[in-house]
């Protein structure tokens, strides 16, 4: 199967091993003589660490060592990968707590034992003595003290353009909203895991269980441990879901490495679920106080947003990424002539935060679309009409937002936002739907519909590198610096390579997440792989194709421009039959030992793709809900996501991303929430407390994928598809619930749990 592959819903290369139990996830990696690591975690939200007694733990048979901060004093705190801004450094996390405990779950000590059960027994015997301090649990409270002389507000993100104050002076109406987004996270089904092994024969430190950004993590681990990067190698196996949280550099990754070097034995750590829910990155929690200045027609003149970002106890690898994205992406698909966002990064005594699918956008789309609905309600204009009046027009593309994020200037590259909105409304039959809902409401039902429009971002550069090689069996290997977190990277890259080169995609092996196979790689985040790695693959495969045809032209005594590659054979494009040669034979003719000796041996090429700007897909969510008056439960009767991603390489996989993202968004909008009691004790520590949607809660989802606005920034025109399913779920469901209960603007807080909704219903 070669020929046209891009745009086809072919089945995945990844599936056969995963369907047969042959996958290799972190816990499946084991080495002879390995030790098992267990973390002793703080039981205090905020305390002064007085003493740690490890005597009992050390005495337990099978225990090899017990460490506290003094044993890893040479390891610096974990640094920032993205969005480093001034003032954050002192708030980075050390791999083990030194003098203060700042959240329940913080690593305090660590046990190494021959058996994981024994390690866990020993961890229970480690006695941590601490003096409890009052916890700070709300980001919008008065800041407290992080450490001596350091407040819990390390920095403020500020983005502004236009004359905001002037716009508010001339505004016909000013609308003010206070909105909150709850604390939730990606929660992949596979917990984190890390297995370090020091190959003393070669002096190479290996870390298995890597994900997302193996090259960056390799460089950091090397720097932190004072080793040459070439002596540290990371290996990504199968990864049981990423969603932003998995694969960032965490204290546990360093601890297994330091221990493996110190003990000369492999060290394995597999997180349990309780640990995951209190120790791996949380996300999302923000409180916004937003104002909009509008004219009589509902056109936005300015938005002024002040928000408090609950960062948790430390600033981890993402630094200011989430509040920065929230501030930068809030204006979304609308013109907004003047804009100001002031985001207060605040530390609290809760689990530290990082990104989660559509970071900053799930939050700011909720804020912005709540505002659009409020404008509509206040001025008595239809919510869709208000949006139409404010959407950026297709003729205004590319549209410069005049603000930066992630080191790039936001330039909306292409899009027909109103066009997609119209298509989507037509697809759901909006007017008929409204009539039907009105009739049901008259009959006493609490049913309603809501809608949200959004712009996503994707394809973050600045580069990607790919090697494509055809070997003498005719098999193709594509070595990338990308990572796979289960989204189908191998298939998509193989489709792009296969179509470009003229090879069956099933003969293509795609390598990712192996730092010893390629010098550079940025991994998988920010919906970047299909755009960046995809384009680098296309460039490399084009070069291999040209080289194959050039070589074959000599071998076949045919003009190069008369040749094509079909199903792995170089053939004459102008004749049905005639001489042809397999790529395996071309590769043989290019061997360094071939006669005549090739100018440049090997049927292989390298492709580089550089990009200074992101691509911006856009979409519309429509929700139809019914609210149970007695229980406050929301049932989603219908949900539609329309998403323009420029070009879909594999529509089946794109749809999978959208539906999966939607159901995660549904969790964050209705069910999932990390809650704490007044002492800062986390209460969402099992899957019985942290409620993720099951097949029963997930409604049938309609997906419309459009390709009306290809990106001008890459040859295929693709934009990333990973985050649009999640982006606007909170916003659309809030609007639908408002409509169902007949109270515009009622929903001001996510998640909209039955308890909160019952309170709203009682107030009405």
């Amino acid at each position: 199967m070669s020929g046209k592959l891009i745009g086809r819903s072919v089945t995945r290369l990844e599936d056969p091993p995963l369907l047969t139990g042959a996958g290799c996830f972190a816990a499946d990696v084991s080495f002879p003589h390995q030790l098992h690591m267990r973390i002793v975690r703080s039981a205090y939200a905020h305390a002064r660490l007085v003493a740690i007694d490890t005597t009992q733990a050390r005495r337990l048979p099978g225990v090899y060592a017990v460490w506290t901060a003094a044993d890893v004093a040479h390891v610096p705190p974990i640094d920032f990968r993205l969005t480093r801004i001034d003032g954050l450094e002192p708030y980075r996390q050390h791999v083990l707590a030194t003098d203060r405990l700042r959240y329940v779950g913080e690593p305090v000590a660590v046990v190494f034992a021959d058996d994981p059960y024994v390690a866990e027994d020993a961890a229970d015997l480690v006695e941590v003595e601490a003096e409890e301090l009052p916890p700070l649990l709300r980001a919008d409270q008065e800041p407290g003290e992080f450490a001596h002389g350091r407040r819990t507000e390390p920095a403020v993100v500020h983005k502004e353009y236009g004359d905001v104050d002037a716009a508010f002076r001339v505004a016909r109406t000013v609308i003010t909203l206070d909105l909150e987004i709850g604390r939730h996270s990606g929660v992949p089904l596979e917990t984190r895991g890390a297995i370090a092994r020091h190959d003393r024969a070669r002096d190479v430190l290996e870390l298995h269980g890597a994900a997302k950004v193996p090259h960056w993590n390799r460089d950091q681990i090397a720097r932190m441990l004072g080793r040459a990067p070439a002596t540290v190698q990371l290996y990504e196996g199968h990864v049981g879901g990423g969603f932003g949280i998995r694969g960032e550099l965490y204290p546990e990754d360093l601890l297994v490495c330091v221990a493996a070097l110190k003990f000369g034995r492999p060290v394995k750590w597999i997180e349990d679920r309780r640990e995951h829910l209190i120790a791996a990155n949380h996300s999302r929690q923000q409180a916004h106080h937003v104002r909009a200045a509008v004219d009589a027609a509902g056109r936005i003149l300015a938005i002024d947003d002040a928000f408090f970002h609950d960062q948790g106890a430390y600033v981890r690898t993402h630094a200011a990424t989430v509040p920065d994205l929230a501030a930068a992406m809030l204006p979304g698909p609308y013109r907004v002539p003047a804009y100001r966002a002031v985001g207060h990064i605040r530390l609290t005594n809760k689990t530290p935060c990082g990104t989660y699918r559509a970071p900053g956008r799930f939050e700011s789309t909720f804020v912005r679309e709540r505002m659009l609905d409020a404008i509509a309600a206040q001025l008595g204009i239809d919510p869709i009409e208000v949006r139409r009046r404010n959407l950026i027009g297709a003729a205004e593309m590319p549209f410069r937002r005049q603000i930066d994020t992630l080191g790039t200037e936001i330039v909306l590259d292409s899009g027909d936002y109103a066009g997609l909105l119209n298509q989507t409304l037509k697809k759901v039959g909006w007017d008929t739907l409204q009539q039907r809902l009105r009739a049901r409401r008259s009959a006493g039902e609490l049913v309603g519909a809501g809608l949200a429009v959004f712009v996503e971002k994707s394809g973050l550069g600045p580069f990607d590198q790919v090697h494509v090689t055809v070997d003498t069996s005719g098999a193709v290997e594509v070595v990338t610096g990308a990572a796979s977190v289960g989204q189908g990277v191998e298939t998509v890259i193989a489709q792009i390579c296969g179509e470009t080169l003229g090879v069956n995609y099933k003969r293509i092996r795609v390598v990712h997440g192996q730092t010893d196979r390629i010098a550079y790689g940025l991994g998988a985040f920010a919906s970047r792989v299909t755009v960046m790695t995809g384009e680098a693959t296309r460039i490399a495969a084009s070069k291999v194709r040209a080289k194959a045809i050039e070589t074959a032209a000599e071998l076949l005594q045919a003009p190069a421009d008369a040749l094509d590659i079909v199903d792995g054979r170089v053939v004459r494009a102008d004749a049905a039959a005639g001489p042809s040669i397999a790529l395996s034979d071309v590769a043989r003719a290019l061997a360094p030992t071939a006669n005549p000796r090739p100018r440049e041996p090997g049927l292989s090429a390298e492709g580089w793709f550089h990009a200074n700007h992101m691509t911006y897909p856009y979409g519309v969510h429509i929700a139809v809900v019914a609210v149970d008056r007695d229980t406050g439960a929301v049932s989603v009767e219908r949900y539609l996501v329309a998403y323009d991603i420029g070009r879909a390489v594999n529509p089946m996989l794109v749809e999978g991303q959208i539906v999966g993202g939607f159901v995660q968004g549904l969790g964050g909008a209705l069910f999932e929430e990390f809650l704490y009691d007044e002492r800062g004790e986390p209460v969402s520590v099992t899957f019985a407390d942290y409620l993720m949607p099951s097949a029963r809660e997930a409604p049938r989802t309609e997906v419309v994928i459009t390709e009306d606005a290809p990106s001008p920034l890459n040859a295929l025109g693709v934009k990333g598809a990973g985050e649009g399913g999640a982006n606007a779920v909170g916003a659309a469901l809030a609007a639908a619930i408002d409509d169902a209960i007949g109270r515009p603007g009622a929903v001001t807080q996510l998640p909209i749990t039955p308890r909160r909704l019952r309170e709203l219903l009682r107030k009405s």
Binding site: F25, G241, R273, V663
Partner: protein, 165 residues
Amino acid sequence: MSDKREITLIINGRSYAVRVEPRRTLVDAIREECGQTGTHIGCEHGVCGACTVLLEGAPVRSCLMFAVQAAAKEIRTVEGLGSPENLNPLQRAFMEHHALQCGFCTPGFLMLVTGVLEREPDISDDELIDVLASNLCRCTGYQNIIKAVRAVAHDMRQARSTASA
């Protein structure tokens, strides 16, 4: 806790003589003592279902059982379904309907569905949702899992009615 018991686990028709502590969970014994790592551990408190195996034909959470409780009983795991070159109909349906992304929860879903369809081949579409709601998936949003399972259930019913006709 170090008193170990000698037991035999019978996994996919093969006997494994293992020595385990009484507290060792079945899933750990299947994975570590018997090397069958296709069965995954997602929560260790019986909610997510990633560790689902068939015990005497019934789906069970192998994280909530001790290995000694499964001694000498017939255990089936994902490794006992089809091979990569020869997927069984349920595995093939998962592939064709894109019912897996990261694949971590997949073995649990496959065993859950295998057990249920063997016992209740006439299960209704709505009852199937209740069954599938006993396991968690974080990638797919379930729609394609539901499609794949319904397709297989439908095909099985079709095949039976053809055979009995």
